[in-house]
């Protein structure tokens, strides 16, 4: 397996008033193609910062971030936005669907950033919704769907443009156990059958069990690696 993501000696500091808070001081991380990594850790350990760096929604102060041979740490806002649209599918804790759009329209959003024709977009939306088993709910608005169904729509939105990498922030944090397991099963399937590389931040040890490995983050360092 080759590395999909590599963080080398990454430093990240936030300024809060006059005080500067160091989150990472020389963080190294390698994630292989086809890996499914759960990241756990207490509040304030740097999970969210790591998620933002991996997703290209925040920039490091120094160090290298490589994605599939592409160095993204020097990218400006516009370049990062383009890279995210091409390469990353995001799955949020509270689904973050657009309430005025129906399921199919929500799933279609990332395709609006591509040059695909309307017909091709429709076909891809259909495929994505069929993968998550919600094609029959394509015309439903988010408020007409259950939490689990909304998260499935969000997963369909994350995979519709066929990115290599899925980034999940507490994807089951808002769901009951059974529904959570369903969603995690879907993620596992995407990893095993479609080869998606997945990084999932979670507080839930049960959820972490669906991953291939778990990293514990504490005070900006990976304290323990469980295979």
């Amino acid at each position: 397996m080759s590395a999909l993501i590599q963080l080398k000696n990454v430093k990240k500091t936030y300024k809060r008033g006059k005080e500067s808070i160091t989150i990472f001081d020389g963080l190294n991380l390698t994630i292989e193609q086809g890996d499914f990594v759960a990241i756990m850790g207490p509040s304030g350990s740097g999970k969210t910062t790591l998620l933002n760096l991996l997703g290209g929604t925040d920039r490091s102060d120094s160090g290298e971030i490589n994605f599939d041979g592409e160095r993204i740490d020097g990218y400006n806002e516009g370049q990062l936005a383009g890279w995210r649209a091409r390469s990353v599918g995001f799955i949020f804790q509270f689904y973050n669907l657009m309430p005025v759009l129906n399921a199919a329209q929500n799933v279609e959003l990332p395709l609006m950033l591509t040059k695909l024709s309307a017909g091709k977009r429709r076909a891809n939306v259909e495929t994505a919704l069929k993968i998550v088993g919600l094609w029959d709910r394509a015309k439903h608005r988010p408020k007409e769907l259950s939490g689990g169904q909304q998260q499935r729509v969000a997963i369909a939105r994350a995979i519709v443009s066929d990115p290599k990498f899925l980034l999940c922030d507490e994807p089951t944090g808002d769901l009951d156990r059974n529904t959570a397991n369903d969603i995690l099963g879907t993620l596992q399937q995407l990893n095993q059958e479609m080869g998606k590389t997945i990084v999932m931040v979670t507080h839930d040890p049960e959820a972490a069990r669906f991953a291939k490995r778990t990293l514990h983050l504490d005070k900006g360092v990976f304290a323990e690696v469980t295979q």
Partner: protein, 394 residues
């Protein structure tokens, strides 16, 4: 293509989410509608007033006043001067073969305004047989023309609409004399419709004016004859009069009085617009903050800050355009064609109809869109600066 697509999606989402902020959006639409309606009302007033004054003057009729007089009321023209005017170049001959000159005088009499029940000034004009010939647009529509030498008057249709007591057949009292209304005349879209007409010699004798008049209207062979005639009046030392085309005379008056209405309307419109702008800004800031999570999510997915900006701008413009539409509708249904009267030059009442035209609609709608533009620009910038942090989106 992708920029168009993503901007289009954001615009569609913003506009479709307006019902989620229904009352706030309605308040914005309402306040913009009010601004448009008020401004349009004033502009329609000025427009109607201008059109009436401008429509009053003929290009081939010269009006002469005493040199230095600003209006008919403070002018004096003698019988001798009128004879001299008849010798000028380009003067048309009347049906009797003599120069077509209407020597006239104007007095102010009281009338009761229907709308307020208060007294107002109105012009009583003394004209001779040529009075109707120099006003081809004037027609007796009810009753008949006054008989020369009698205490009879005819009344303009505009005056009849705005003032009470002048109906056909009524007897009126001006000064020591009684007068009988024997006819109604129409002269659509002119100031003459706001006048009372009677026989000039009768007025001269009853109001002790001797043989003097106040103006003379001279029919010329064509508008092209005007400059030569104006020059003749200016150069003829015995006249001491000033001549100009009737069209120019009324256009000048229209400009002065019309500007007054207009310059009252615009500041009022702008002050109200500032109020409406505050409302629009408030609505749009609320819209941006209620969509903060949505905007952040779209930014995470890869949508540009520009699309968030344009989406907010378009929402503001849609609200202001709706407001403009409602405002124009209120005006068109409520005010357009409404008759009104106000003080014209010479301190007499001029009756006219409010007129909404494409040019003033354009002005009012432009103001509404400016409110929308400014009301959208700052909230739009805030939306575009929303950082695509995952923490914000969740």
């Amino acid at each position: 293509m992708s920029l168009l697509n993503q901007t289009g999606s954001v615009i569609a989402m913003n506009v479709r989410s307006i019902p989620q902020r229904l009352w706030m959006s309605l308040a914005t639409v309402g306040s913009i509608a009010l601004v448009v309606a008020v401004l349009l009302g004033f502009l329609a007033l000025a427009n109607g007033f201008n059109q009436t004054l401008k429509g009053s003057g003929a290009p081939d009729v010269a009006i002469t006043l005493r040199d230095g007089a600003a209006s008919e009321l403070n002018s004096v023209v003698s019988r001798e001067q009128i004879d001299l005017l008849g010798q000028g170049p380009g003067v048309r001959a009347g049906p009797d073969g003599r120069p077509l000159i209407s020597a006239e005088l104007v007095l102010i009499v009281d009338g009761i305004k229907k709308s307020t029940g208060t007294k107002a000034n109105m012009p009583l004009r003394g004209i001779g047989p040529n009075g109707l010939l120099v006003r081809p647009q004037a027609k007796i529509t009810q009753g008949r023309m006054f008989t020369p030498g009698s205490n009879e008057i005819v009344v303009g249709a505009g005056l009849l609409r705005e003032f009470s007591g002048f109906e056909l057949g009524k007897t009126l009292r001006f000064g020591a004399q009684t007068w009988k209304v024997v006819g109604v005349f129409e002269a659509p879209g002119t100031v003459f419709e706001s006048e009372l007409w009677a026989d000039a010699p009768v007025i001269q004798s009853l109001f002790k004016r001797g043989s003097t008049f106040q103006t003379a209207r001279i029919g010329l062979t064509s508008p092209a004859a005007m400059p030569a005639f104006v020059k003749y009046v200016k150069d003829e030392q015995r006249l001491q009069l000033k001549a100009q085309s009737e069209q120019t005379y009324f256009a000048d008056q229209a400009e002065r009085s019309g500007l007054l209405i207009k310059y009252f309307g615009w500041p009022l419109g702008i002050i109200m617009a500032i109020g409406a702008l505050a409302g629009a800004l408030n609505t749009m800031y609320a819209s941006v903050s209620s969509r903060a999570a949505e905007i952040a999510t779209l930014r995470v997915i890869g949508f540009s800050g520009f699309s968030a900006f344009i989406g907010t701008m378009v929402e503001a413009l849609v609200l202001s355009a709706l407001g403009a539409l409602v405002g124009v509708a209120i005006c068109a249904l409520g005010f357009n064609g409404l008759s009104a009267s106000t003080l014209g030059a010479g301190f007499t009442q001029v009756a006219f109809r409010l007129q909404i035209g494409p040019d003033i609609i354009t002005q009012a709608v432009t103001l509404a869109l400016i409110i929308g533009l400014i009301g959208g620009i700052f909230p739009g910038l805030r939306a575009s600066r929303q950082r695509p942090l995952l923490a914000l989106a969740t």
